[in-house]
Symmetry: C2
Subunit: 303 residues, 2 copies
């Protein structure tokens, strides 16, 4: 039964899990596992080390240790899609190997993101080099397209080439471009390719087109509502569910998102240490927090 | 005597040393040290793990091992300005500590470069957190301003704040913006702050304004001419020296620079393995190489 579950593709809602830090700016493993467990109990899958997780502010060693802690904490690793893409080939290989070894259902992989304007050939080789070195048939790669943040877009011809070269290994994408046209084009061009929208504002629209689900920052605090949409997108009131998700997102959009989400978790749990971000991010100011709370309340989301 | 040399600030011409790889895409330590030695014998300082070095495509462990090899190879580490800035605090701390431990005269430090649009406060904390954790009075930080590549510019107010908070530790900058106005503004605003231009095209102009020197990709293959300019910038024919440097740079500018430089080193040394780049970069095509060679010859630089 466990084996059968593991063979299933990851679908639905995933949270790029917020990473709690202690006062010395080290990851707080205990709170990380506890928070992850709460998310999974709400039916939310885990995408640790995404952008919202401050994943690129963590070392490979820290990420490996956090994955170990999830596994040791009894999390169903088959539903974990770990962010493993770094700037350097050996780091990405090492982390991805570890993710596979601890049973992660997927690896959400940014391209190497320091060099800008690189040709598709170079990006193809970057992914191919990782796949060849990980050399494990259990590897499931979800490409991570986030041009605004990474500065390195993933083009449709590149994706097509990867799918042809590595069928069953390159299986999906998280598209954080926010561009519906790009997501629709991928759904049409690549049958069976799992497209996750990085914004819940496009959740219903993509679910109707066979999208695989939603991987959104806000799933850390509003994930249950996203799970509801994924369950009931065929229902007559699905638009209402979508509207509420969009309203929440709009209410959050003027605040530095990661710090804002951490402040919300701190309020919800009463654990003030949740507010801590790692540089170059800064914790939310009290003024911004007040404004956010008022904005959320006005939008119908009392916190 | 050695101690006296170590206390001197790094000045003059530095090459962001090209990193040779073997066929398995691992750094080739032996060729790296040999090439570094040739550069130093020409009077060129070393800035390993810069952008041109594919420094962000290397793991922390690989960079530490290459620094160890330079030290073991008898290189004067006091003239080495090692690139140590990564996306993650623990990685930057670990690598910077190592650079200080092996006697590097400076650490050329990118800000954490994944998150874009972060406030100066966050960038200040990023540098401050590294300095506090390295906790070594021998640390000399050169900020690395390369907005086009890193996506994270370093503003004058940020630099001012860092200089006030960490005098004698934050000592200079490599400005790869190519903007003369920015370099001039820094020279005026911050007396004693060592401004290195990232483009040799602005070499003479910045030397006349008290610039500390040049750290340019092309120093890997045309560094001797830059050293000549730094020695003789007060001479009547300095403009001629500058014109030749600029002509070389212009001849190279339409080619993917890192791969092009590696091809030139391969031609000069007869060692074809020098052509290898790590993904996401791609090696220079033969067509591009032919075009580059013709272009250089036409500009008066037969290769």
């Amino acid at each position: 039964m466990a084996a059968a579950i593991k063979d299933e593709r990851i679908r639905g809602v995933l949270a790029p899990v917020l990473t709690p830090f202690d006062r010395d700016l080290n990851p707080d493993t205990k709170r990380f596992v506890a928070f992850s467990r709460v998310l999974t109990q709400l039916g939310i899958g885990l995408a640790p080390f995404g952008t919202t997780s401050e994943g690129n502010s963590l070392s490979v060693e820290e990420k490996m240790a956090l994955l170990d802690a999830l596994a040791a904490g009894g999390i169903d690793m088959g539903r974990v899609m770990a962010g493993t893409g770094t700037c350097s080939l050996p780091d990405t290989v090492r982390l991805t190997k570890h993710a596979v070894a601890v049973g992660c259902g997927g690896a959400l992989m940014l391209p190497p993101f320091y060099y800008k304007g690189v040709p598709d050939e170079g990006l193809f080789r970057a992914y191919a080099s990782v796949i060849e070195r990980v050399a494990d048939s259990r590897l499931r790669i979800y490409l991570y397209h986030f041009p605004k943040q990474s500065g390195v877009p993933l083009s449709l011809p590149l994706i097509e080439r990867l799918l042809k070269a590595f069928p069953g290994i390159v299986v999906g994408i998280k598209d954080s471009s926010g561009e519906i046209a790009n997501m629709e084009a991928m759904r049409k061009a690549f049958p069976g390719f799992d497209v996750f929208t990085g914004t819940e504002a496009l959740g219903l629209r993509m679910l109707r087109q066979g999208g695989a689900g939603i991987i959104s920052a806000n799933a850390n605090v509003n994930g249950a509502a996203m799970v509801e949409l994924v369950r009931r997108w065929r229902d007559p009131d699905a638009e209402t569910l979508q509207e509420a998700l969009t309203a929440f997102r709009v209410a959050m959009q003027d605040f530095p998102l990661i710090a804002a989400l951490k402040a919300l978790v701190a309020r919800a749990t009463g654990d003030q240490a949740w507010r801590i971000t790692r540089p170059p991010l800064v914790d939310l100011t009290l003024e911004a927090e007040d404004a956010m709370v008022r904005r959320l309340e006005k939008a119908g989301f009392p916190v």
